[in-house]
Structure formats: structure tokens, C-alpha cells
């Protein structure tokens, strides 16, 4: 099965929407159809990968270290599923809550390009190609962030793009330096060559440099400032995409490059990472606790959740890695659902400040149930997705005897509960406050159709919780393949294949 369509389908859609730049109807339908096809293709790919093992495609028919290789392994397809489902949910949302101004600015084209960038990131097997997809994501997310041109959005957008360009700069430098030293960019080839020179301190330093670049993308302390200053500004649909998907790119790349290729590094680096991830968790959660803006709480909460994922990476065992993999997916679903919920509430009242919001439980009990389930999922109540990943992380901490990390994990879970319930109490329980003139604030009625995307992501998130025993095994299997690189390398470099086979690209 081919992998490239996962990138080409959205790009093709983007081209079509550009050709019909005047016709919003066509653009809407194109993007819906394209994202639906993308989702379908992703599921097919997933079935294929879990059925017959990972897929490899040599783009341009050039053999592995020379050309660019795309690989769809278990990790990739898991990430792809999260991406396409979130994208589908957001697309449904933006179809229901139409925003004419946004769409006339080329929203659909940019979203499709962003989808292509995300898909590319998750299937590429080449360091520089990864950088290119990073750029695609960076540029398209910046455009989405500032597309409506409000002052607030531009301010957030400038912060976002400046700080992320710094990440790109570091990534580019690091990729150049690594190529300068090892003469290859293919991840499989690279990991072989790194393994041969694993004691070279230059490689440790370059790995650290890459880590910083990914850490900025993933919003890890002290590199997270861009996230809380930009996530609360964009339109809701965009915010949901951001919250669901952007930080995961950083974490994914950390797994794919920092762990997969550069392993094992000296122990002090991992210890440092454990410390950093604990600080990230605490710092994010404290930040979330003091915010009074619905979306800023969610933004800071993303930081603390990223700390969880980083912890899983830093702990260096299979359970922890599996926890991080599932955590990314869980968080993608839950956070985008929460952002859409915040959008529904905020749009109805016209403000995201919690002292202006209120009375949503009486207004729509269904929305209340949805929010509460998502919130408990984030907190980690049993049989929600958050629980599955929390248990896995806790177990891996117990296995590594990281008592400080366990303590931090529990404290952060507790604080997460506090701030999520603060939202619940202020937005859903409290009555709608009076406005400045002492009148009852007006709030628009809610469209039930807007709940559909929340329901979709919620269902997927709950599945992670309910099928925790199955999915944890899948995740552990995936994690094993990350630490045990042989299968991947053999597949990509075709080391075990006999000569004489023609280069037919993807293998059936």
C-alpha cells in the first residue's frame, strides 16, 4: 500500500481550493471530502500496518540513504489516526459554525496544507524532510493563527512564529551539523551510523540541539512561552487543531529522532530530562491554576500535559514510552474536544473570561455532560483515556523507582482536577453573571450540531480508556519497536533482502 497519498491527498485538495478561491461552497465541500478520504485512507493504512507490518515507500524510486524514504510503522499510523480524526471533527465544526471572514481568507487551503504537513511529519524517515514538514506546519499554523488579523491574534502570532522560527533555526543547524558529520539524513541509516559513533561527544551535543528544537515545538520548560501566549487567540476551529495536534509534533519527533536515532546517550541527559519534565508539569499546572480565561487555562494545561509526555520519554523504559505514545493520542482528542467546548461557550456569550460566563449546565445539560467527561478524562478518572495513560506512567515510574516523579505526577493530577473543576464551577454551575449595566447578559442559543465534533473526539478518547488493556499492549509493542530498531532499519535499508529484487517501491 502506498504511503504518499497521505500527503498528496490534502495537498491536492489545497490546490483545488486555491483554484476555486472565490467559491466558498466548493472549498467547504472539497475540504470535507478530502479530509474524509484522508481519514479513510489512514484507517486502511492502519489495518495494513497492524496486519502485515510497517510499510516503506521510496519516494522518487531512489534507494534508501539517497532519496527520501517514507515509513508507516505503528507509531506513525497511531499518530495519523489522531490527526485525521481531530481534523475531521474540526472540519465538521467549521462547517456548522461557518465563519465567512475566515473562509474567505483561504482557511480551507491552509488547513489542508497543515494536514499534509502533519501527515508528512508522521510518515517521513528522513531528518531534513522532517524539517521541511516542520516548516509546512509552522507556516500554515502561523497563517491560521493570524489569518483574521485582530490585534490580539497578530500579537500571539508574532510571538508564536518568532519563537518557533528559533526552533527551526536550531533544527536546521543541527540537521546540517549531523549531515556534516555523518553524511546521511535517512533516519535508519543515521541510527546505524550513530550507533557506530555513540561515544562521540559531538553526537551528544547535536542530539541535545535537536532536542531543544523539538522541545520548543512541544512547549517544554523553559521553552513553552509561545504556547500560552498564542493558543487563546485564534478562531475556535483553529484553536482546536492547535491544541490537539501541534505540540504532539514535537513529542513525536523526539521519539522518532531523539530516542530512536540517538540512543543511548549518556545518563546525565536523561536525568536532566526527567527534571525538566517535572518542572514543565508543575509550571504548566500552576500557570493554568491562576488563569481566568477559559482558553488560557486549557493552554497552560497543555504545557503541563506535555510534561507528562516528556517524562515518558525521559524515563527510558517501554512502559513509559508506551504511555507517551498513548498520551499523545489521548491528549489530542481530549484537548481539541475541550477547545471546541470552550468555543461553543465563549461564542454564545461573546467572552472567554470566566467571570463573564455561566449558566451552561441549565442551558444545555448535554454540553455539561460532554465537558465533564472530557474534563475527567484529562484528570484521569478510571475508564477514561487519561486514566490509561496515567496508570502506565505511574507504573513505569514505579518500575524505575522515580519517587519524585511519582509525587509530581500525583500533585499535577490533583491540580489538574482543581483547575478543570474551577472551569466547571464557573462556566457550568454558576449563573450567567450580570453585565456592567446590571442587566442579564445576553447569550445566543446553542446549536446542537456543534456538539457533534465534541462527541466524535469524546468517543475516540473513551475508547482509549475502555480498551485500555488492548491499547496498552499495542502501545507497548510499538514502544518496543522504537527501542529495538532492527526491524525498522532492515525494512528501510532492505538489509535482509536478496539482491535482484527490482526497486518496486512499496512492498506488498
Amino acid at each position: 500500500m502506498l504511503i504518499t497519498p497521505i500527503i498528496c491527498i490534502p495537498l491536492f485538495g489545497a490546490a483545488i481550493t486555491l483554484l476555486f478561491y472565490k467559491d466558498r461552497e466548493v472549498q467547504q465541500w472539497t475540504s470535507t471530502v478530502v479530509i474524509a478520504i484522508h481519514t479513510l485512507y489512514t484507517f486502511l493504512l492502519t489495518l495494513n500496518v497492524f496486519g502485515y507490518g510497517s510499510l516503506v515507500e521510496y519516494v522518487g524510486n531512489w534507494d534508501a540513504p539517497i532519496g527520501i524514504t517514507l515509513i508507516a510503522d505503528q507509531l506513525s499510523v497511531l499518530m495519523l489516526i489522531m490527526t485525521s480524526v481531530v481534523m475531521l471533527a474540526v472540519n465538521i465544526y467549521s462547517r456548522i459554525a461557518t465563519d465567512a471572514k475566515l473562509e474567505s481568507q483561504g482557511y480551507h487551503s491552509v488547513v489542508l496544507i497543515l494536514l499534509a504537513g502533519l501527515s508528512g511529519t508522521f510518515v517521513t524517515g528522513d531528518l531534513f524532510n522532517l524539517y521541511v514538514w516542520f516548516e509546512v506546519i509552522l507556516m500554515s499554523s502561523f497563517v491560521l493563527l493570524s489569518i483574521k488579523g485582530n490585534k490580539e491574534q497578530l500579537e500571539g502570532g508574532i510571538k508564536y512564529v518568532t519563537l518557533n522560527l528559533f526552533a527551526s533555526l536550531l533544527f536546521l543547524c543541527a540537521a546540517g551539523l549531523i549531515y556534516g558529520l555523518l553524511g546521511t539524513l535517512n533516519l535508519a541509516d543515521l541510527s546505524l551510523k550513530v550507533a557506530e559513533n555513540i561515544s562521540d561527544p559531538r553526537i551528544h551535543t547535536f542530539a541535545l540541539m535537536l532536542w531543544i528544537a523539538f522541545a520548543i515545538k512541544a512547549a517544554i520548560f523553559p521553552f513553552y512561552s509561545w504556547l500560552p501566549s498564542s493558543y487563546h487567540t485564534p478562531p475556535i476551529a483553529v484553536g482546536a487543531i492547535f491544541a490537539g495536534l501541534l505540540t504532539k509534533v514535537g513529542i513525536y519527533s523526539m521519539i522518532r529522532v531523539f530516542i530512536f536515532v540517538f540512543n543511548p546517550l549518556p545518563a546525565w541527559i536523561y536525568t536532566l530530562l526527567v527534571i525538566i519534565s517535572i518542572i514543565t508539569m508543575m509550571s504548566g499546572v500552576l500557570g493554568a491554576y491562576v488563569q481566568s480565561d477559559f482558553r488560557r487555562i486549557l493552554a497552560f494545561s497543555s504545557v503541563s500535559q506535555v510534561g507528562f509526555m516528556m517524562l515518558g520519554i525521559a524515563l527510558q523504559n517501554e512502559w513509559a514510552m508506551a504511555a507517551t505514545i498513548l498520551f499523545m493520542i489521548h491528549h489530542g482528542f481530549v484537548k481539541s474536544g475541550l477547545f471546541i467546548t470552550s468555543g461553543i461557550c465563549g461564542k454564545s456569550v461573546g467572552s472567554f473570561y470566566m467571570n463573564r460566563l455561566g449558566g451552561f449546565l441549565d442551558k444545555s445539560p448535554l454540553l455539561g455532560i460532554l465537558f465533564l467527561t472530557l474534563a475527567f478524562s484529562l484528570i484521569g478518572v478510571p475508564f477514561t483515556s487519561g486514566f490509561t495513560v496515567k496508570i502506565m506512567l505511574l507504573k513505569s515510574c514505579i518500575m524505575n523507582k522515580e519517587w519524585v516523579a511519582i509525587f509530581a505526577l500525583l500533585v499535577v493530577s490533583f491540580m489538574t482536577m482543581l483547575y478543570m473543576l474551577k472551569i466547571w464551577s464557573e462556566v457550568f454551575w454558576k449563573k450567567l453573571p450580570l453585565d456592567e449595566d446590571g442587566k442579564v447578559s445576553k447569550s445566543k442559543p446553542l446549536e446542537t450540531g456543534m456538539f457533534i465534533p465534541v462527541v466524535i473526539v469524546l468517543i475516540f478518547s473513551l475508547m482509549i480508556g475502555i480498551f485500555g488493556n488492548v491499547l496498552s499492549e499495542v502501545a507497548i509493542d510499538t514502544a518496543k519497536k522504537i527501542y529495538d530498531r532492527d526491524e525498522y532499519i532492515q525494512k528501510v535499508l532492505r538489509l535482509n533482502l536478496k539482491e535482484g529484487l527490482s526497486y518496486t517501491g512499496s512492498e506488498k
Binding site: F12, A15, I16, Y58, G60, N61, T504
Partner: protein, 138 residues
């Protein structure tokens, strides 16, 4: 306030610059040049035109919106990749007229990389003209 010198120079230079840009595009695979450089050259030509006649006029020269050019460019590059699918080869596989399936039918050293380069060329033109036109639009 239009400078007559600039206008007349532009009238003279514009076709030449565009020709050069096409030349750079076509020879790209074998000598310095290529889609990106060609596209930049062409955009420079359009910018020159804009400086001389006003940037709003660029749209009438292009006969279409820059976004369509962007879309076309993207589509062209993608199509050069899709050709690979048709030949049961991976995406973006270079296919040549004087080789493989077409061998003997047309003996030309032209292949899908050129199509890809044309796409790049179009995108670059679309980007620069788009920015310049948007700036000038009232």
C-alpha cells in the same frame, strides 16, 4: 507619477526578463537555473512592471488571481508525482520521454522533473505577485 524612462525600459525589459526566466527554468536540470530561480526572475519582471505601471496592473497582465497561479503550480508539481503512480512506480519517480514507456515514441530529453520544476516556477511567481498585488489593492 510615472517615470517615462522607467516605463519605456520596462516595456523593453519585461519580455526579455520573462524569456530569461523561462530559459533558466528549462535548462535547470543541466546547468545553473531551475524552477525556483526562474520563478524569482519572472517575479522580478512583474515587480518591475508594477513599479512602472502601478501594482494593481499586474493582475491584468497575469489575467488571473495569484491564488489560481499558486493552485496551478501546486497541482502541476503534484501531477508530476502522480505520473509515477500511473507507471506503477513510487510517487515523484522521474520519467523521461526517451526512456521507459515512451521510449521510441518521442525522442526528447524531457521528463517529469521538468513538470515538477514548472510547478515550482508557478508557485514562486504566484507568491511574489500575490504579496505585491495584495499590498497594492485598495
Amino acid at each position: 507619477m510615472r517615470s517615462i524612462i522607467l516605463i519605456s525600459i520596462t516595456r523593453l525589459m519585461m519580455p526579455m526578463l520573462l524569456m530569461v526566466s523561462l530559459f533558466l527554468l528549462l535548462r535547470g536540470h543541466d546547468a545553473p537555473g531551475g524552477g525556483f530561480i526562474g520563478g524569482l526572475m519572472a517575479s522580478a519582471a512583474f515587480c518591475l512592471y508594477g513599479l512602472a505601471f502601478g501594482f494593481q496592473k499586474i493582475k491584468s497582465v497575469l489575467h488571473t488571481d495569484p491564488r489560481v497561479i499558486l493552485g496551478l503550480g501546486l497541482l502541476t508539481s503534484l501531477c508530476s508525482g502522480f505520473l509515477g503512480y500511473l507507471m506503477h512506480k513510487p510517487f515523484l519517480t522521474a520519467l523521461w520521454f526517451d526512456e521507459g514507456f515512451f521510449n521510441g515514441v518521442i525522442n526528447l530529453h524531457v521528463g517529469s522533473p521538468l513538470l515538477f520544476d514548472i510547478g515550482v516556477y508557478l508557485v514562486v511567481v504566484g507568491v511574489v505577485t500575490g504579496i505585491v498585488i495584495a499590498h497594492a489593492e485598495d
